[in-house]
Subunit: 232 residues, 2 copies
């Protein structure tokens, strides 16, 4: 089993039985997600920026304008923490203390660096589109030189990562099961809605067949997992 080696930085301390360090747990949580929260430090001040991200092997990527503060400061290579969270449900117990959350989360640590090679930058941006929208690159206009110049891709090889998850019903104190209150789980999921065509769309253009996984009502985490699975 491929696994990350936790140090004090990534070791799950609180409820450590919920912690996992193996790729087989961590990668699916990452691949089912679209938004990560990237933490970095400027002059002792922490910043947490939400950003779309993608993964290739043990490396996480994200992008933005070459002008953005986060990316400007990260070009030199700075310590970063990339956190991904899926909220799966509210856990209602028979005491306030035992109320909980069902979730899947990953904290990944590494050094965020600029992808300096223009060819690799262009390849990663293609991978980002392919990872989200199978077949779409064949239908849209390709990137122009000045667009690539105005875009920065950041990479972070994962040095350490931990996953933390909870699932299942509440766990109450023995004596509390006799209480007359309802207990259980209210599931939560991020769901795809009905696609809204651009008001300026030329009439007669259908929703792309390559995006067939984006069915209204589908779970977005499942769609993302399916799309990632279609990569060559």
């Amino acid at each position: 089993m491929n696994a990350f080696t936790p140090t004090d930085r990534s070791k799950v301390k609180r409820l450590h039985e919920r912690g996992r360090y193996d790729e087989a747990t961590i990668f699916p949580i990452l691949d089912a997600a679209f938004i990560a929260h990237v933490g970095y430090v400027i002059d002792g001040q922490p910043y947490v920026t939400p950003t779309a991200f993608w993964r290739e092997g043990r490396v996480l990527y994200w992008h933005g304008s070459a002008a953005s503060r986060m990316l400007r400061f990260q070009e030199a290579g700075v310590p970063a923490c990339v956190t991904v969270t899926h909220l799966d449900g509210l856990v209602l117990a028979r005491s306030g203390f035992h109320h909980s959350i069902n979730y899947r989360s990953v904290m990944a640590f590494g050094t965020a660096r600029l992808v300096a090679d223009p060819a690799e930058e262009a390849r990663q941006l293609d991978l980002f589109v392919d990872r989200l929208y199978p077949g779409r690159r064949g239908e849209i206009r390709g990137n122009e030189k000045q667009e690539l110049k105005g875009t920065t891709v950041i990479m972070m090889e994962i040095e350490e990562a931990s996953a933390k998850t909870r699932s299942g019903p509440p766990k109450d104190d023995d004596a509390d099961y006799a209480l007359g209150c309802w207990a259980g789980v209210i599931p939560l999921a991020q769901v795809v809605g009905e696609a809204q065509a651009d008001p300026k769309l030329t009439p007669g253009i259908a929703f792309p067949s390559g995006l067939a996984d984006y069915v209204p009502g589908a779970r977005f985490d499942a769609v993302l997992t399916a799309c990632a699975g279609k990569l060559g």
Copy 2:
């Protein structure tokens, strides 16, 4: 209009026309959310921890075990960044470059501190339950002394905050509207599922009437907003 005064720390630099600093924009984004990503620094290393949070006025609160690393280090009062993100949709444009995301996000800055007064700590934990689950405190067992001792509540008065949002259809380069590809928005929303009773639930106990907003199919952000609106 009540607003936060941005400094270099919170000023939205990238696509600054998407930035807002007024409470009337920021508070509803916070109150529609359940999970925040809290950034803090230990020995130069950034950490981003997902956590449930709640708001009272200009103060954000979160809690955890008194043993957790994040809370242990924050007791002294440390700089923190609390970020909240709603992912509202994928924006598919006619070029890779103009693909975008519809979202509502807030970055809030301040100093995270321990809520040291036990009475205030207990009041805040009650507020947390009331904010999520109207009427539930009257049905469950109250907190016991040793439970409160084992729980830490952290507060962060917002010193600065900015909101950043995008909504609406793609914006393409003029020449690209003639392309034959589909363009538009795939909406995304976090949605409530069918409540799952605890397998150990005493038969005959119904789902609480106080939680009537948690209807299967309801948007969780709307439920949270409604519940926050019921606070005294």
